[in-house]
């Protein structure tokens, strides 16, 4: 079994932030947050076929989904978790140490560390929107999948978090200035369903390929939502430290103003890109 984690050269603020906060990622507050619930929902939608030999989880984080799926899969199934954040990989590798069926590798969608046509099933839960080069990432997925390979990618879409964005954009503009605010927006690739379909159609053909979307509103307390704010902190690393406290205070007040009887709403716009085997001939 290989659980060694090798360093990759390319770095970006999001990867650095995820790596730095890796130990906090598995805290209970994160699992109970809207993102924890959305991740659990995506995981529950995954159905593994018994004839899969190699399964890849790209953007595996601390390996939570890998462990859950590997615990119920047939013994011949090999799982490979891939993540660009070094400390996430370390934690995932620690968890996988006792399971010979699970390997962890440092890598990213843009350069997947797997052989061509080697993967039966590739999945990813809430990671693809962080890619830096969507076209190259889709080409890499197509490269590593076997000709009849299958895929489930869950990632956030264009209309994600509308309530928060509407309330906080002006605050971030004030503290970051226009250039940094727009730089931070460029870090995420939040696609419409139509744009996602167009992107993945460059490598995969219909009817094997489909893209579904959903809008699900999660309610939580201010502290509950704040617990996942760490995940997007990478966007805001360029706010000068002396301004950050004041910025955080204004953002918290703005989010609290959204509170209703059920709590503070946050709507996740999720895209689900599916690739399935062609139907067998009748």
């Amino acid at each position: 079994m290989s659980t060694g984690v090798r360093t990759v050269e390319a770095r970006n603020p999001i990867v650095e932030t995820y790596s730095r906060l890796a130990r906090e990622y598995d805290e209970e507050a994160n699992f109970l947050s809207c993102w924890g619930r959305a991740s659990a929902r995506a995981l529950s939608a995954i159905r593994l076929r018994d004839d899969y030999s190699v399964i890849a989880d790209v953007g595996c984080g601390t390996g939570r989904a890998l462990q859950a799926l590997a615990s119920t899969a047939p013994p011949h199934t090999q799982f490979i978790g891939i993540d660009p954040a070094e400390n996430m990989c370390r934690i995932a590798a620690e968890k996988a140490a006792a399971n010979k069926a699970v390997q962890i590798r440092l890598g990213a969608f843009e350069k997947i560390p797997l052989e061509t046509a080697s993967v039966d099933y590739l999945y990813s839960i809430l990671a693809f929107h962080w890619v830096t080069d969507p076209a190259a990432s889709v080409a890499e997925i197509a490269r590593v999948l076997k000709p009849n390979g299958e895929m489930d990618l869950f990632f956030i879409g264009r209309d994600n978090g509308r309530e928060f964005i509407q309330k906080t954009s002006a605050i971030f503009l004030k503290y970051m200035g226009p250039a940094l605010l727009l730089d931070s927006a460029r870090l995420r690739k939040q696609l419409t369903r139509e744009a996602a379909l167009q992107l993945f159609s460059t490598a995969f053909a219909s009817p094997r390929l489909s893209v579904e979307e959903s809008l699900t509103t999660y309610y939580d307390t201010l502290e509950g939502h704040w617990s996942w704010w760490v995940r997007v902190e990478g966007h805001f690393v360029k706010i000068p430290q002396e301004k950050k406290t004041a910025c955080d205070r204004e953002v918290r007040e703005a989010l609290q103003s959204l509170a209703g009887p059920r709590g503070i709403p946050y709507t996740i716009h999720e895209l689900h890109v599916k690739l399935r085997r062609p139907d067998p001939p009748h």
């Binding site: 209309d159 509407q166 971030f172 503009l173 200035g177 605010l181 727009l182 460029r186």
Partner: protein, 90 residues
């Protein structure tokens, strides 16, 4: 491109791409971010639209946060960026 032409370009794009369903009148005084008419992604798209249609590059480092998100302020910034750019060589 004159200020009026640029403002018309911006207003028409916003009407076609705004993120709210409200039938708001878009004018030079309309604030775009705080009102939710556009989000930061929409702003990126708008800036790329202005740059491609007007053939200029907007210098965000020069932008005043208080004016940047208002239609007239954004148009002023675009024209200021245009004036600062060297003329293409013949």
């Amino acid at each position: 491109m004159t200020h009026d032409q640029l403002q018309q370009l911006v207003v028409e794009w916003i009407k076609a791409n705004k993120r709210t369903s409200n039938h708001l009148e878009i004018s030079g005084d309309t604030e775009l971010l705080g009102t939710g008419i556009l989000d930061s992604f929409g702003f990126l798209d708008l800036i790329m639209h202005i740059e491609s249609k007007a053939g200029l590059q907007i210098d965000l480092a020069e932008a005043d946060p208080a004016e940047f998100a208002v239609v007239r302020g954004l148009c002023n910034l675009a024209l200021k960026s245009q004036a600062a750019q060297p003329c293409p060589q013949a």
